[in-house]
């Protein structure tokens, strides 16, 4: 059976979710294996959210926020960037490929870029195959 990755996307309310919405209203076609979760700001995304996504079976996690300098709350996306860079170090140590966690800036007008991003990320994850985290966690002896 063909592997269809499960991707969780955290999108900030002000830019990226609106951007994704634009992709939809413009009737752009993109891969359907993304599950979008709207948060008020990319700075709201705690590392716990990302780790829990992987535990619950996500093969990839995508975080999108406003471009640097454009954050509705001024600094939220910078916090997100720092958390992301630290999380990458951590998940690498835990044996999860760093490619499985991606951060991109998507503005409210970048519907096309969002569609392309989803397609390319989905392709990367499909090539990598399923994340083995669920199997590893299941063994407790």
């Amino acid at each position: 059976m063909e592997f269809k990755p499960r991707i969780v996307a955290f999108l900030c309310n002000w830019c990226s979710y609106t951007g994704a919405d634009l992709a939809g209203t413009s009737r752009m076609q993109y891969k359907a294996n993304v599950r979008a979760i709207r948060v008020m700001c990319s700075g709201r995304i705690e590392p716990t959210f990302v780790l829990r996504s992987f535990i619950k079976g996500a093969d990839g996690v995508l975080i999108c926020g406003c471009h640097p300098g454009d954050c509705h709350y001024q600094e939220g996306n910078y916090r997100c960037l720092r958390r992301f860079l630290l999380l990458q170090k951590y998940i690498k140590q835990m044996g999860i490929g760093t490619e499985r966690l991606k951060l991109e800036w998507i503005s409210a007008s970048e519907g096309k870029q969002f569609a392309e991003l989803v397609n390319s990320f989905s392709e990367t994850i499909t090539k990598m195959g399923p994340c083995k985290i669920k199997d590893t966690m299941a063994v407790l002896t």
Binding site: E46, R52, R79, R82, R83, K89, T136, M137, T141
Partner: protein, 324 residues
């Protein structure tokens, strides 16, 4: 003891532990007389000559209170955890290893095969030309020798059996143990099952008296020996990683009082499942850089985030072992 209450039956057991928890029980010093006045120690391998079969012969629920310290590393630990659960009315996960997995839990960065390779083959001081490995069973002419089976995973006590309470700490503060013990002896109403007792509910930072300002801005992280600590200012504000923001209070911030940053042995405060993730969140908030390259440069000083943030809690964290 005519007319008085029957004495409590108390047991202390160590699984995968260093022995420090048992010593923390001994640290009650002369109060030990009060303890033995109120309780009979029925099983305590470090101090008494009692055998496993003595415990096996006890009726179920015979022991009133068992302090179980140490993580579950092998089949012997697991057997004793299940046995003591059956024989005890109250089973307490005592100390970080039992509560969170503790230092032995760091073995979850590896697995049995890798550990055996390192210990019995690769280690510089090992001379093992026959490549001898421990086997759970070995036949000799006198019969079959058995040793406990070594597991791939280290687990906390609650991941193996039902636990009534947890007392955190590496080791737990003896005063807090006495408080808990006195509460049980006096018959006071006990907290709901599953509670963490003998500790606070908030974080270390809520207790810590070091000077803190709102304006935490870090451009470089230092190892404790790289700076001259002024003894007054918050460690984080001086650029030293301190686990205080994601660690439960209750120890009296002793490490910090001793001018060493908190290591996180009391585990996460109430309502937090994953202390390391909270710590990553906190640290990322105080780095004063906006450029990805500059941020990465600052983060280079956090050499081993997984080992640092999950030093005591890897087996109970969200990603409880390295993927293999």
């Amino acid at each position: 003891m005519e007319g008085s209450k029957p004495k409590l039956k108390l047991a202390v057991y160590w699984a995968a532990a260093c022995g420090g928890c048992c010593v923390s029980v001994l640290d009650v010093h002369e109060k030990l007389f009060d303890v033995v006045a109120a309780a009979d120690l029925v099983f305590w391998p470090i101090a008494l000559d009692t055998k496993y079969k003595d415990v096996e012969e006890m009726p179920d629920q015979h022991i009133d209170l068992t302090l179980f310290n140490g993580a579950i590393r092998n089949s012997e630990n697991e057997h004793m955890a299940k046995l003591l659960r059956k024989k005890s009315k109250i089973l307490v996960a005592y100390g970080s290893c039992s509560h969170l997995g503790g230092i032995p839990g760091l073995a979850n960065f590896s697995n049995r095969e890798d550990l055996f390779n390192r210990v019995y083959s690769e280690c510089e001081s090992v001379d093992n030309p026959g490549k001898v490995r421990p086997l759970p069973e070995y036949k000799v002419k006198e019969g079959t020798l058995k040793i406990p089976e070594f597991f791939n995973d280290v687990r906390s006590l609650a991941q193996v059996v039902d636990v009534d309470y947890s007392i955190p700490g590496c080791p737990p503060q003896t005063e807090r143990l006495l408080e808990v013990f006195n509460a049980i002896v006096s018959g006071a109403e006990l907290p709901p099952k599953g509670s963490v007792i003998g500790a606070g509910t908030k974080t270390q930072c809520d207790d810590c008296t070091r000077k803190k300002s709102e304006n935490k801005k870090i451009k470089k992280f230092y190892r404790p020996w790289e700076i001259k600590d002024d003894g007054v200012t918050c460690f984080m504000e001086q650029g030293v990683l301190c686990m205080g923001p994601a660690t439960r209070s209750g120890c009296g911030y002793r490490c910090i009082k001793g001018n060493a940053p908190c290591r996180g042995c009391y585990g996460p405060p109430d309502g937090v499942t994953d202390p390391g993730a909270k710590m990553m969140s906190a640290i990322a908030s105080i780095i004063d850089e906006k450029d990805p390259e500059e941020i990465s440069r600052v983060l280079e000083d956090v050499v081993d985030p997984a080992g640092l943030f999950y030093r005591f809690s890897l087996p109970v964290s969200l990603i409880r072992r390295k993927l293999v």
